[in-house]
């Protein structure tokens, strides 16, 4: 049996050191955006909804750092204000998926038997669908807007959480300290809440962070298509759609909100990936 560390092992060690540095960048980005979102109203130079039709479609200048859009609204203010919409919504959507999925996954993993099988089959069925297309259908029925989006995430996004949690629970319930807890007479529910769940949740955390990124991307995409957040509420996706007709002359109208989505997404991605490697070890 060769005693030498393999090439993969050594390269992985090097990557881990680079990853640590990169994850700080990710955290930094997310924190900046979060701060901007929270402090938004104090930072926006102009009212994001205020239209000044005489000043429409101005290029970036000292007065308007990112110019104005087709209705004369300050782009910078709208980009910051949109952060107050996209970031919390993405967070909420991911949290709903996580909650629903975790509950179902816990039930399945802990109870087992036919409940578990039923849930897993249901999950397979939903996963085989073109998920996001179903979202569009749902939005059509419920009307475009935030409630429809949140409901879709609840109905469709729960599966990975359920699977992750279920696998972890099944793994953990076989460990000895659970048997010890059971023997000492604590009720089943207590065992679940106090002993099993805290340990089983860890792998889901990394996925949660990545899920926020996916939620924001999906949300922006739906809004771009006109099926998500409705105007005049500023939202990055809708801003890109509004700016697209002016692409040749005022390209910053699309660049700014689109860039915001990409950079924030990058922050979450870096953070999620570094969490993934750290929590897996």
């Amino acid at each position: 049996m060769s005693a030498a560390p393999s090439t993969i092992a050594i390269a992985t060690a090097r990557r881990q050191r680079a990853r640590a540095r990169i994850s700080w960048i990710g955290i930094g980005i997310v924190v900046v955006f979060a701060l901007l979102a929270v402090l938004g109203p104090m930072l926006t130079p102009y009212d994001p909804l205020a239209q000044t039709l005489l000043d429409r479609l101005q290029p970036p200048s000292a007065a308007h750092l990112l110019g104005t859009d087709a209705l004369g609204r300050d782009v910078l203010s709208r980009v910051i204000a949109a952060g107050r919409v996209d970031l919390p919504l993405g967070l909420a959507a991911a949290m709903i998926s996580a909650t629903v999925g975790s509950i179902l996954g816990s039930v399945g993993g802990f109870i087992g038997r036919w409940v578990d099988t039923l849930l897993m089959r249901l999950g397979d069925l939903v996963m085989a669908f073109p998920t996001y297309v179903l979202v569009i259908a749902l939005v059509t029925v419920m009307g475009a807007g935030i409630p429809a989006i949140l409901v879709s995430f609840a109905l469709l996004g729960w599966i990975p959480y359920a699977r992750l949690l279920r696998a972890e629970i099944r793994r953990v319930t076989h460990e000895e300290y659970i048997a010890a807890a059971r023997l000492s007479g604590i009720s089943e529910l207590r065992v679940l809440l106090q002993h099993v769940l805290p340990n089983a949740v860890r792998p889901s955390i990394a996925y949660f962070v990545l899920d926020i990124m996916m939620a924001i991307l999906t949300l922006a995409s739906l809004s771009y298509l006109g099926l998500g957040v409705q105007p005049p509420t500023p939202e990055w996706g809708t801003m890109v759609a509004e700016g697209q007709p002016y692409l040749q002359t005022n390209w910053w109208l699309t660049a700014a909100p689109g860039g915001a989505i990409a950079v924030l997404g990058l922050g979450f991605l870096l953070l999620g990936e570094s969490l993934e490697t750290r929590l897996r070890g």
Partner: protein, 314 residues
Amino acid sequence: MRRAVIAVKRLAQVVVLMLGCTLLVFVIQAASGRDPARAILGQRASAEQVEALRAQLGLDQPLPLQYLRFLGNLLHGDFGVSYYSGGAVGTLIAGRLGTTLLLLVVAFVLSLAISMPLTMTVVRRPGGILDGVIRAFTLVGTVMPAFWLGILLILLIALPTGWFPVSGYGQTLPEHLRAVALPALTLAIGLAPVQIRTLRTSWLRAMQSPYVEAARSRGARQSRLMFAHALPNSVIPLISIVAVQAGWSIFLAVIVENTFRLPGLGQGLVLAANQSDLPVVNATTLVLALMVVLISLVADWISTLFDPKLRSAS
């Protein structure tokens, strides 16, 4: 023989899945609360006319019977009538189907044309500078919203060069291909990162495996080891990933068609959704679901071709 059994099982799964889809779509339709007859005839139709149409459409029947009638219609190609235009939904879909199919095919081919050479460069020299650059590319490809990437491509390529139309589909095949080129590229860039990641891992793992070392000990050279030895054993995870990407790629196609004003199913879907034209939305969703299922099916079948455990000396 084993492969045939697996194929039959898969087919059965497809049928069940499609039935599930139709049921879901039907439930959505029923739950929407809109009276289809009223929607078709408009506000000014009289109550008797609406009642007559309801009877004709079988809307006074109990729900399970309605569902069966719905299924029957589907099998005859009758997808219902658009609330918005009054035309047959089936014709609307048929007109747009080809565009979306062409887009998807070109996009998948492009994505593999991007991911495979890039992965090859990385596997040749793991941990090098190129490895880092390509990793950065995959990061960017993952976070970039497809609609924004499409717009960037329009801004940086289509507008300056004028080689690619920014809307429409054209009449002839060359025009079709030019119209589809940038949208397909946008889609491909969205799909490539995951493909690169998957193939890189499995190809590197194969290169580290004992059978490659054994072949090396017999004098086989590096490029032969990479392509004749390791690669055939690394393809299966890639094919599985492509199957998984089927659903996501349809969503990307919807976005991209709207960004580039391509008259495919995706554009039709969004138009109908904005008009609350439920029959069109439902029928398009069904057709798209069928496409996803078929892509997964084909990918699964291809991966059985590569699985050595399913082969034998006979």
